[in-house]
Symmetry: C2
Subunit: 658 residues, 2 copies
Amino acid sequence: MMDNNLYLKQMSIDVEKARQSASFRIQDMNKLLLNNSYDANQKAKKIAESEPVFDKFPMHFKNRAEQLAHSLKMAKRLIELEEEHHLSQQEFSALVLYVDMLNPLSLHYSAFMSVIQAQGTPEQIKKWYDPAKRLAIIGCYAQTELSHGSNVAGLKTVALFDEKTDEFIIHTPDLTAAKWWIGGLGVVSTHAVVQAQLVIANKSYGPHLFIVPIRSPIDHKPLPGITVGDIGPKAYGGFATMDNGFAIFDHVRIPRDNMLMKFAQVTREGKYVAPVHDKLSYGGMVKLRVDIFADAGLKLAKAATITTRYCTVRRQFGPNLETPVIEYSSVQHRLMPLISIAYGIYITSKDLYGQFEALTKQLEIGEAQSLPEVHATSCALKSWGTRRSTDGIEECRKAMGGHGYSIFSGVADMFATFVPSNTYEGDNYVLSQQVARFLLKQLASQKQVYSTAAYVKEDVKLLPIKSHEQLLDPNVQLALFKARSARLVRQLAQQLQAGLSWSEASVECWDINFAHAEYLVVHSMIQKAQQAKSTPLGDVLKRLTDLFCLHYLATSATFLATSTVSPLELVTIKQAYHQAVLSIAKDAIPLTDAFGFSDRQLNSALGRYDGRAYEALWEAVQKNPINHDEAQRAQLTKLVFDILHRRDNLNYIQAAKL
Amino acid sequence: MMDNNLYLKQMSIDVEKARQSASFRIQDMNKLLLNNSYDANQKAKKIAESEPVFDKFPMHFKNRAEQLAHSLKMAKRLIELEEEHHLSQQEFSALVLYVDMLNPLSLHYSAFMSVIQAQGTPEQIKKWYDPAKRLAIIGCYAQTELSHGSNVAGLKTVALFDEKTDEFIIHTPDLTAAKWWIGGLGVVSTHAVVQAQLVIANKSYGPHLFIVPIRSPIDHKPLPGITVGDIGPKAYGGFATMDNGFAIFDHVRIPRDNMLMKFAQVTREGKYVAPVHDKLSYGGMVKLRVDIFADAGLKLAKAATITTRYCTVRRQFGPNLETPVIEYSSVQHRLMPLISIAYGIYITSKDLYGQFEALTKQLEIGEAQSLPEVHATSCALKSWGTRRSTDGIEECRKAMGGHGYSIFSGVADMFATFVPSNTYEGDNYVLSQQVARFLLKQLASQKQVYSTAAYVKEDVKLLPIKSHEQLLDPNVQLALFKARSARLVRQLAQQLQAGLSWSEASVECWDINFAHAEYLVVHSMIQKAQQAKSTPLGDVLKRLTDLFCLHYLATSATFLATSTVSPLELVTIKQAYHQAVLSIAKDAIPLTDAFGFSDRQLNSALGRYDGRAYEALWEAVQKNPINHDEAQRAQLTKLVFDILHRRDNLNYIQAAKL
Ligand SMILES: Cc1cc2nc3c(=O)[nH]c(=O)nc-3n(C[C@H](O)[C@H](O)[C@H](O)COP(=O)(O)OP(=O)(O)OC[C@H]3O[C@@H](n4cnc5c(N)ncnc54)[C@H](O)[C@@H]3O)c2cc1C
Ligand SMILES: Cc1cc2nc3c(=O)[nH]c(=O)nc-3n(C[C@H](O)[C@H](O)[C@H](O)COP(=O)(O)OP(=O)(O)OC[C@H]3O[C@@H](n4cnc5c(N)ncnc54)[C@H](O)[C@@H]3O)c2cc1C
């Protein structure tokens, strides 16, 4: 029964065949995608593949507390490996990316430590950053409250300066001001950077940052005046390995010195010293959004890899062995654009990191001229990328039919844990307003504008689209994406002039955000394809770019609505789109192989490298405790008997010989 | 601290105010929506509200086995209540809908029993239906296999007739033929209706249905030759209360009489008697899809109710108490159309039930002329409705910002468990091809065509849209929705004539399915609004219909792509759309109240009737076991110490007084 029959063998043959017919070298593409982190990635992978605690499969059967426990073990092993292998920061990051699972220490690194580094004085860095680095304290970033998230200015926690004792009194005035959602706070953190309204002598100076001890690092008990706990399970079982928490402060006293004072200061006498360049502290927020955008590419790439492999081996309908479902046009039109989007995000995020590094250098010398542009770009790409990625992951799951709904598909977990990226680090709808505002400002500006937004003032020439070839011309592609976005921005400017209020304009901002982000991605992809033109990867990068462009040209209503494209042109566009889909479909397996994920990283029965999805599903199911655990079985069987043997049913069953 | 402060009180004031300003009577609308099931609903609600086991809140903290156990208790209580209160079938259905939670017996009723009733001979019904009704046996419907779902003809389980013993031998030839996904099979069922290839004397007659005993109803042990178990957790923690299972048959013998023989028969001598009207057995499948469509409305209505209430009390940004987020234009444009869609589904599903009942009467007298139409309508509405509903539920969740991602929002569970409705009872993409085929057939037909599809041949007159008023004319609305769908169908017909293969047409089928379904809903909504014209509900029903129409006219690319609407007309449409959104926003609270869900049914901290979301979140979090369970805490704290007190950290902490 369980022997490797014809059908099972065929599955390996199917993926191998698709691999063999690649139009490019998979490893070359992997190097291009990983860029300068290729070596770090290889090293991290080698270390991680043999670590038992990084195997995510057992997580499927764990309850919340067990999942948290497992992730703490992962966190510890990460720290040990960093030491054992003397990992550089890049290698450690690569290792964390390999594991790709949140743990209660994730924000200790990405938020707590980096905020101290960015906003602490040298003495404060020494005092807090060093112990944080050796994990003698574990911290979190406590901004959001029960009733305030997006509107940071509205936070209600207060930090009242007490000149007598040279202390701040951190206090939660009412339930709605309870800190909420804080990652790492629920169970683990010993310290928090708390965002609170600074009050000196009855005068409020707005939100500032304070280091507040939460639990004793010695016995881990909550400190006096602090009520703290975990806010409970999250949607879709996501974020289960993170202990998002709440905290209420009842007149908690901290030394004055615990306010992060690199920019603003409070003196011993209670004098408030305003920051010189308050925008200089924004760099950290930009970095988080850049990371999220890159992560959107990683997650979508994983989902696309799994789905491409499964749809290659899944056969349904048709003659003989039946047709692999990846050959159906609707499956291709759902899946191939997602592969091009994942590539687009990888490529664009490299550019964005570059811009961020340039900005960091500026900020270091006290300048900030490119901050508005990098801020707008990171907002636009974060909101566009997280939405496209999470929609795309769920579309991948659906594209796998019934088995896509099994936890063993490996795709649902990614959606579950990544979908809140639409909300945190700036709700996407709120961010889109900042993007639109930036573009409107460029449009209105008399001076030279930022290069990424120059197109809003450009007089873009559009020739009628008559041929397929025209649509593959990078200049035509760029012009179309520029024109659409520019027209949307100008339309909104007109509407505002005609009296539309800003709060009524938020739907328009959303469209503008997407149009601008897609222009940015097209721009990066075209550049990358042109750089690689004479290399063996040039051709396929060009085809990916074409598909990305044609997908949006053919499906996005805003091209038609702005008359950037006419219904007649759409006929040509759709034909070209269809060709582009087919052209990528031929390379779908190699293109997803090129992301370079191991089976262990994917943790998917359906997305196995060798294509043997059915055997993997079977093996996974055998480990299901419901099928084995005697106590669970006994309890369930008893409940079944409560129904089956109700009243005189047992007699009835025996008499009727059922 | 925890006292009812100003901000908390304001939340109740906010929802109450919105309720007071309703433009219609909420209870009247509830009666209209529930139609002839209103009384049954009231009775069910009264019974259910005080049943402790129907409280879903504790489910949030249970593991898989505990969730299954709880749902078995619910199932038992449902049976008891049916007896105790002598519930009619309609009342029992209303009770099941009130509980709105799957249990391992759900398919016993909806699939196992109904298939026996529909396809069994009178003797078979007596033999199997009667014990099933008293729960002396519990059954499931086993069609799908590891490698076959959509393509039923390709199933590989065989039922080999053994003339010697007058038995069938049920056999799984290889792993890929294992039954898979079967709801109720994993842990609970004693019997299954198994779909298997009938083979007599080496000749195959295609899939037929067989009743196969799986576990002894006496000791609940699997019967000889049967390997059976639960297929494991599902995506997003959905379907956790259902024991979807697998089964492998090793030459399992059943009497010949266990084949359901109302239509096809196998005689004692092994002669196959083909069914006279094989289509007569399709009625059951139609019913399941009709139910799913109605359920899509129910689920979306719940999500919209929760989100409307929370967004009314959630304030963020703006002066004084800050602005309720429901007043932001993007929130309104995301939420109000979903309310109109939920109404659209409620109204249309009533019509669909009517068509189904008429069909049932036809089938009873051996006729089937309206089957193709009801089949196409149910396919179109099922795929459109499940997709719009599940996309809408997740949009509701996102619209609630951070707290939407808490499990206590109550919205995520609905998405998690309802999203596979896109896949089961016919994968939506596969169904859309049947819809398109039906419409193409009508287009090509020389005879009179079905009334729901008559428009494909109609010469629809479209006048240029110049004014807002025009867009509110039901005739104009209908014409636009007819024209778009007809044009898509005709385009596809042309492409097929020009050589496009059917498998390449599946993207077009998807668009056609959506256009046709939206036409059907517009048609039903317009009719309903006109019927109610002179009643107090007429006005708001008209406004809901307008919003439904304008939402798709303004946002769906296919109106522009087919030139049904021009970019210039779009400007007018968008203005009218904006007005329609505002007009429904004013009634959003009463419109969602009118769905009539109790707090217990919604099981949501954010969607409480009294608006007190923050207090409810706080109470929910206090019940989180991670905050209390001593054993869990101790284990987690130990793991924290493994990190915090690594090496000489404890000394360091003490020395540094951290
Ligand atoms: C998984 C997760 C982890 C988190 N981790 C942390 C953490 O570690 N530390 C921390 O401090 N916080 C954390 N947060 C909180 C997070 O930063 C906020 O939830 C997020 O910023 C969104 O804010 P909000 O919840 O106030 O949404 P709201 O602003 O209340 O959004 C509600 C709705 O209103 C809309 N809206 C709001 N304002 C406007 C406007 N002006 N115009 C139009 N529409 C508007 C939104 O689009 C949304 O639809 C976390 C949240 C989540 C979900
Ligand atoms: C929660 C759940 C409960 C279930 N309960 C039961 C049950 O109780 N009993 C039972 O028998 N079954 C059950 N099923 C199985 C279910 O009926 C099937 O999964 C469903 O019919 C989809 O079929 P599939 O899995 O073969 O998908 P596939 O057909 O393999 O779909 C895979 C992909 O191929 C695409 N595709 C397939 N064919 C075509 C085509 N011709 N053209 C274009 N695209 C195509 C699909 O759109 C999809 O993207 C259940 C499934 C789920 C998820």
